[in-house]
C-alpha cells in the first residue's frame, strides 16, 4: 500500500507541486496557496486521498500547484465536480476552489444549491472583487459605484455578500479569511476540514493587478477578528430554534459589516443539521458500506455479479398456471 497515511511527517513543502506558478507577483493567491499547504501538513492529509478542484479564473489554477489530486474544472462548475467525486468516494478529502465571479456569478446556482446538500467538503472562494483572468471586469462582490482601474465604467448593481449568501443557503460552517494573514488562514482551513458538513471559506484576496480599491493598504486597518470580539459562532447539535435563529441573525449582521470594520474568522458553525452522508445512509444503508466507486463486481471471467433477479421478479410475466 502506497497510502500516504503510512508516512508520518509531511511538511508544507511536500504539498508543493513542482510546477511553475504564473500568478502575478504580490497576488493574494500566493498567500492562500501557502495557507493550504500548511493546513494540509497540519492535517497530514494523505496526498493520494485528497483532491483539490478549481474553477476557471486565476484562483482556479490553484490545483496545479498542490501535490495532491488536482482537477481544473469549468467556469462556475467547480462545486458540481467536487461533489461528484466526494459522493462517489467519500474517503477523499475534497476542497473546491473558485473565484468570486466563478462562484457568485456564473456559479451562483450551484453555490446556493450546494448549501442545501451539506456534503462534507470545503469550498474556498477567492474574493478579489474582479474577474482576474479575463482582465479585471467587475465581480459580483464589487459594490455599487465602485470602479477599479480595469473598468471603463462603475458598477451600477448591488453587490453580493458571499457570507450572507452562504449562511442563508445552508452552509454549516462559514468563515472569512484574509490572503495575507497566512497563519490565521491556515487555522481556518484546518478547522474547515475538520468540520463535518459543507464549509464555506471566503478569502479576501487583493488583486494588485486590477483591483486598486481593495488593496493590502485598504484592508490594513479595517480587518478584525470575530473571535477577538467575543463573537460566538457555534450552534451545538441540540440547540433550540430560538437560539439558532439568534445566532443566524448575529451572523448575518456581522456579514453585513463592511467599510470601517471588516470581520474575519468564523461566522457560523451549525452542528444542528445532519450532514449529507448520514442522511443518505438512512435512506440507502448500502451506500455507507460500499461507495459508488466500488459498485462494479465481477467474477473471474469478468461477468457482472450484480443480481438482477429481484428486479426481474417485479417485471416478470409469470406463465399462467393454468397453462401447461
Amino acid at each position: 500500500m502506497g497510502d500516504d497515511t503510512l508516512k508520518t511527517t509531511l511538511s508544507a513543502k511536500h504539498y508543493q507541486a513542482d510546477q511553475i506558478n504564473d500568478w502575478c507577483a504580490g497576488c493574494g493567491d500566493h498567500g492562500i496557496l501557502r495557507a493550504l499547504e500548511k493546513a494540509m501538513a497540519k492535517l497530514e492529509l494523505a496526498r493520494d486521498q485528497t483532491a483539490v478542484f478549481g474553477g476557471i479564473g486565476c484562483s482556479g489554477k490553484t490545483p496545479y500547484y498542490l501535490n495532491v489530486g488536482g482537477v481544473h474544472t469549468l467556469h462556475g462548475r467547480v462545486l458540481s465536480f467536487a461533489a461528484g467525486a466526494k459522493l462517489a468516494n467519500p474517503a477523499l478529502n475534497v476542497i473546491a476552489i473558485g473565484g468570486d465571479g466563478d462562484g457568485l456569478s456564473i456559479g451562483a446556482g450551484h453555490f446556493v444549491n450546494s448549501g442545501r446538500r451539506n456534503l462534507d467538503l470545503l469550498y474556498i472562494l477567492f474574493n478579489n472583487g474582479v474577474y482576474g483572468l479575463t482582465k479585471g471586469q467587475a465581480a459580483p462582490t464589487l459594490r455599487i459605484g465602485e470602479k477599479t482601474r480595469s473598468m471603463p465604467r462603475c458598477v451600477i448593481q448591488q453587490h453580493m455578500n458571499p457570507i450572507a449568501l452562504a449562511v442563508i443557503s445552508g452552509y454549516t460552517w462559514v468563515a472569512r479569511g484574509y490572503a495575507y494573514d497566512v497563519p490565521a488562514l491556515t487555522d481556518l482551513v484546518v478547522a474547515a476540514m475538520q468540520h463535518r458538513g459543507i464549509a464555506f471559506l471566503e478569502v479576501l484576496q487583493p488583486c494588485p493587478k486590477y483591483n486598486d480599491l481593495h488593496t493590502k493598504d485598504w484592508y490594513g486597518d479595517r480587518l478584525y477578528k470575530l473571535s477577538d470580539d467575543g463573537y460566538q459562532a457555534l450552534i451545538a447539535a441540540e440547540t433550540d430554534a430560538a437560539s439558532v435563529q439568534q445566532i443566524y441573525n448575529e451572523a448575518l449582521a456581522r456579514a453585513a459589516q463592511w467599510g470601517e470594520l471588516v470581520p474575519t474568522g468564523l461566522f457560523l458553525q451549525d452542528l444542528s443539521k445532519p450532514d449529507f452522508r448520514s442522511q443518505l445512509a438512512g435512506l440507502q444503508p448500502g451506500i455507507a458500506r460500499r461507495p459508488p466507486c466500488q459498485c462494479v463486481v465481477t467474477d473471474d471471467s469478468g461477468r457482472t455479479q450484480i443480481d438482477l433477479e429481484p428486479l426481474f421478479e417485479t417485471l416478470r410475466i409469470a406463465a399462467d398456471s393454468s397453462q401447461t
Binding site: 482537477v71 459508488p292 438482477l308 426481474f312 410475466i317
Partner: protein
Amino acid sequence: MLSDQRIWYAVSSIITRINSAVVKHGTENLAWRIGGPQGSGINRIARLFARACAAQGMEVICRREYHSNIMGRHSYNDVVISAQALQCHRESTDILVTFDAETLCRHVHSLKPWGFALYADADGDVGLGRLPYLDQRLRDDLNAALSAAGLPETTQGLLEMAEQRGVRTVCIPYQALLERLADQLGMVKKAVSATQNMLAVAISAALIGMPEQALLAALEQTFLGKEHIVRMNREAVAIAYNHAQQLQPHVFRISLHGQASPRLLLDGTQSVALGKLAAGMGFQSYYPISPATDESTFLEARAEVRSTRGETCGPLVLQVEDELAAINMASGAALTGARSATATSGPGFSLMAEGLGWAGMNEVPLVITLYQRGGPSTGMPTRTDQGDLLFALHAGHGEFPRIILASGDVASCFYDAAQAFDYAERYQTPVIQMLDKALTSTLQTVPVFDTAAVTIDRGAVLASSEQQPQAVERFALTASGISPRPLLGQPGTWYWSTGVEHSEWGQVSEDPVLREQMMEKRAHKLALAAAEIPLSEKLEIHGDEDAAFTIFTWGSNKGAVLDALQQLSDRGIRARAVVLRLLWPFPADAVQALLQSASPSVMVECNYSAELNSLFVQQARRGCDHLVLKYSGRPISAEALLPQLVSIQAGDAGYRNVLRNAYE
C-alpha cells in the same frame, strides 16, 4: 392444453377481411386502444390490460401518447396483442375503448371497418364545439367531414359515420354500472367512480373473450398491497363481465399458441435502468425531464441492488439542481472510478454541451442517456422525434471524440446501456446512448435478460503502486492514444487533470507541438474504437441479406421497419433492413458497401431533415435514394411504412416521402 375459455377470437377472421385491403398483415394481431383525459388512470389500466394479455401467453407491444399536461388533456394507449412477437404498434385499431367524447372524436376514424367502438352513454350525442381540449384543426376537419356527409356536428354524427364504414359501436351505461357497483359495495357512487376505466377495460376484455381470472390476476399484481382498491376493482370486473354477456361476446378470436417461457414486460426506460445496474453503475445524477425522468425514478426506487454474494452495491442516484450539475457531478464521480452516468432529454442535453466537452478533453468515461423528444426548444416534451442526432454528434465547442449508440428496441436498451460503460472506459471518452420518446414509452414483452452476457471491460486502469505515493501522468502519450487511467483516491497515486490543453501531466501547456500531439492522441482513440468494435456491434442486418432493396434506419423505427419487412416478405418482396447501432464513430466502410449494393435504398427516420441520411452523405459519401420521414411527433408504424415501401419498390415514389396521420 388450451382451455376453452382461453381461445380468443377474431384476428383470423380479420385477416380474411384484410386480404382485400391494401395492407396485408403478416402476423395475426389485435390492436386495442384506450383513451381518456390525462390523470384518469389510462396508462395504468392499459398496462394492467397488457399484463393480463401477456400472462395469457400472448406477446404485447404497447404505445403511449400523451400531452405535456398533468390532468385533463387527452392521452391514449395502444396494446397490440399477438401470438408471435411484433415490434411495432399500429396506427389503426380494432377495439377502441372510450369513456369521454373527446376520445371518440379523436380515434373513431382510426378504427378498422370491422372494429368496435365502446363509448359511454353520456358521450353518445355531444356537440364537437363543447369539447374544449379538441384541437381547433381537428374539430374543423371533423365538422367538415360530417357536414359533407350530411351528419350533425356531434359524436352521434361521428358514430353514425363510423357505422356506415362497418364499425360496430357499443354503448356502455357506465353510470348505471357504477351505481350497481356502489350498491354492492355499500358505498356512494362518487367513491367508486375511479373504477370506471376498470369497467371499460373489463368489458372490452370480456368482448374479446379474455378469461375473467386473467384480468383479476393482473389487477392484483398492479395494485399489490392496496387491498381496498383491489376489492373495489374486483367487483367492477365482475359487473363488467356480467354486463358484457348482454353484448355480443367473443367478437374477436386469436388462435393461441403463445409463450409459456417467462418474459419481462417493461418499457425502454426500465430496460436502460436494468442495463446500468447490470454494468455496476455507481453514480447517476439527473435533473427531471420528460421523457428521461422515469429511468432515474425507477433507479431511485430500486437503488439497493445486491451482488450475487449478497453485498449491497446499489448506485447513488441523485436529483440535482440542473443539468449542468448533473453532467459535471457525474464526471467528478467518474474520476474516482465509479461508473457514472446521467440521463436527460433535449433541453437538458443542450445545457450539457460544455460538460460534455470537459469530459472529452479529460478523457472521462461518462455515459449519457439521451432520450429524444420533439424539438426544437421545449418543443413537444411528450412526443417522439429523432432530431438530436447531429447535435449529439457535434455538441460542445472544439473537436473531441465521443461514441454514440442508438438503441432500436426495448431489449437492446438493456444490453446497450450496459455496454456503453465498457466503451466509455475502454476508450476513456463520453458515450451517448440515444433513445427516442417512442422507444422510451414502448411497453413490450421481451425474453428475460441474460445477465450472464454482461461482461465488464474497465479498460486500461493504472496499476496501484506499492510505493510512496507519487504523482502520475494522467495523459501519457501512448501508441494507442489511451493512457492507463489513474483514479482519484487510488492508493499510491495522485494526478492532475484539466479542461485546458495540457501536457502528459495534466498541467497547462500552450506548446504548439504538445497541442498537436494531444489533439492527435484524442482523435486516435476514436479511430481505435472504429477499428476495434466489431461490425456486429455497429449495425444489424435483417431480412434477406442478399436483397438489393435496402431499408436503413435507426432508433425506434427499427420496430416498424422489421414488421414491414416481414410483411414485404409475405408479399414476396425481397428486402433487407439495416439498423444502425453505432452512429459514431460512423461505420463508413460497411455502410458504403451496403449502399453500393442497395437498390433502391431507403432511409426511414422520425425527423424533418433526415439526419442520419446527412451523416451517410458526409461519411459514406452517398445518401439513400428515398427518404421516408415523419415529424408530427408521432412514431412511424409498419402499417404506414409498408405502402410507402411498396410504392418505392415499384418505382412510384419520389425522393422525399412524409408520413402523416391527422388522427394521432
